[in-house]
Amino acid sequence: MLYREAGQFRTSYADDARIFPLALDKYFFVAMLAFAFIVIPNVASQYWLTALLIPWLIFSLVALGQNILTGYAGQLSLGSAGFMAVGAFACYNFMLRIEGMPFLVAIVLSGLSAAGVGILFGLPSLRIRGLYLAVATLASQFFIVWTLDKFGWFKNYDPSGVITAQPIVILGYTFNTAAEKYVVVLGVVSVLALAAKNMVRSNVGRSWMAVRDMDVAAEVIGFRLMYTKLLAFAISSFYCGIAGALFAFAYLGTVEPSAFSIDMSFRILFMIIIGGVASILGSFLGAGFILLLPIFLSLLFHLVFGTSVDQSVLSALELIVFGVLIIVFLIVEPHGLARLWQITKERLRLWPFPH
């Protein structure tokens, strides 16, 4: 590291409980955030914003939701994309049916709707665990997408099945360009990521981890299982729902059930495996990795094989590399990229000295 922690002592419990115990870490983070809010929207190109940064932030948010449920509370879920769909359609309908609905309120309401659905589909978790639960959450995925597809009311009886999302208007200002949408997404994600970080550091997070590590034992020492598990489902779905609304409004520009397929649920799961299970930073790293991997691979393949390669061959190769990477990560580093970052930091802390 460029700096050391020498001389910075934690002399009180408050000091010990800080997010950034080191002053330089804090300054660095604030500077990074300022850079993301002020510099990037002004300098980043259209492609960078629409194809990389906005989806990255949105998927980081979903990965946070998935990580809260799977990483911290230990409830394996394969239905995140379904909850995203709930959020997207809830947001569309709130905007459509309530005159003058502010966008930010609609976003929060769509998160709450997703949370409600999440609690409903989280109910089986009270009786089953592990693999059985994973299959049960698949039900939510299929059922939600089917419901949104079949009942015309959700789509406002639009025959095409692809609905154009309403414009994002906050306090009378319309966020049209990619840079403006980016700022909205970044704002929402920053607030929710901070909230998530604080949740997992506090008693809520500790109760989740207790349930994850051994639910019977957690119950014995006084955690209410039902409350804890359903809270994890609700908050996770809340994050997924908001991410779904942002995905439809700030990224796709359309609202359609088919965007939220089972495939997406798997990708979200992989984000947290590769990024790091039970890690806030890992959610961001994993989302970036999974998003960048296909882009990087197609660049690489074009470089190696030239441009003449069949697209289907490329996508097959991509699948293989993707699968192999997941297996390799599980074998070599089950704690993911976040752990690798931590190890690197530890090494750099001592560098260039051996001990």
């Binding site: 059922f143 034992a217 590399v321």
Partner: protein, 300 residues
């Protein structure tokens, strides 16, 4: 009278399609019993096996040679999976193992498409997917020959597996491993070879399922998603019970067809995509361990 006849017809069609689910679920159970791995890649294996078989046929190999080659391929695939994916992950949490098999799913799907292309293929088993005349004439019900054939094959397969499990040395070893890994290891059963065998057998079961399914709807990527329907079958039947998945497969098949026929028109159809899962959830609330599963007792 007509409504009873229609009910029976839907029921029988459902039961027969349930046989297909049972076949896929059978592969899951074999692996789960022996190694506590929930093999999510079973669906991909079904797809891969069917595609490989068609691929060999298209290369001009005769039916039996293709079959033999595909069986060989599936055995190799199973052994390789055991060696390169599961052995390094021994003693990991079962959810980690599940995620590894999801990764494996991607590898197998990619491999299948890379080697054999993405076109929809047809499998010709010499059995036509047409109603049996005799049944149609006498009762007025349309029952496909292919479905009946599939049911017969499935029955034979289960019988063969039952004999394999109960009468052979390998079968005894398999049951010992399923019962208690550590104890089996300590009496000298080669654990890793047994796991390899189980994966190979699951591969062969996948081939049978893939051929029958391919004959019905063509060999295509969608097989992977149809195979996901084996999951609710597993839940209802219990993860460790072979008779369980057979019965559960029939229940799921019949229930989803009946639901689609009677409830479907009221809600716009397409209930088949989610009905089995909801059925499984309802089932879980009543009997979390499945029809024939072992009662789970948890201690602190």
């Amino acid at each position: 009278m007509a409504s009873v006849q229609v009910f029976l017809e839907v029921l029988i069609v459902g039961l027969l399609s349930g046989v297909m689910y049972s076949l896929v679920a059978l592969g899951f159970v074999l692996i789960y019993k022996a190694s506590s791995v929930f093999n999510f890649a079973q669906g991909a294996m079904v797809f891969f096996a069917a595609l490989t078989f068609v691929g060999f046929i298209e290369l001009g190999a005769p039916f039996w040679l293709s079959l033999a080659l595909t069986v060989g391929t599936m055995i190799l695939l199973g052994m390789a999976t055991e060696k390169f994916v599961l052995r390094p992950l021994v003693n990991q949490h079962e959810i980690t193992l599940l995620m590894a098999t999801i990764g494996l799913t991607f590898v197998i799907e990619g491999l299948a498409q890379l080697v054999w292309g993405v076109d929809v293929r047809r499998i010709d088993l010499g059995i036509k997917d047409v109603p049996i005349d005799w049944v149609a004439d006498n009762t007025g019900m349309l029952i496909s020959q292919l479905d009946l054939f599939a049911a017969l094959i499935a029955g034979t397969l289960v019988a063969v597996l039952a004999v394999l499990f109960s009468r052979t040395k390998v079968g005894r070893a398999l049951r010992a491993v399923a019962d208690d890994h550590a104890a089996a290891l300590s009496v000298g059963i080669p654990l890793q070879r047994i796991w390899g065998i189980v994966w190979a057998v699951a591969g062969v079961v996948a081939l049978v399922a893939g051929m029958l399914w391919g004959a019905r709807s063509g060999v295509q990527f969608a097989l992977v998603f149809v195979a996901l329907k084996a999951l609710p079958v597993l839940i209802i039947g219990g993860f460790t019970s072979i008779p369980g998945v057979i019965v559960a497969g029939l229940i799921v098949g019949a229930a989803e067809k009946l639901a689609e026929f009677y409830v479907g028109p009221m809600v716009g159809g397409g209930t088949e995509t989610w009905f089995p899962y909801v059925l499984a959830i309802l089932f879980l609330l009543v009997r979390p361990e499945g029809l024939f599963g072992e009662k789970i007792i948890r201690r602190v």
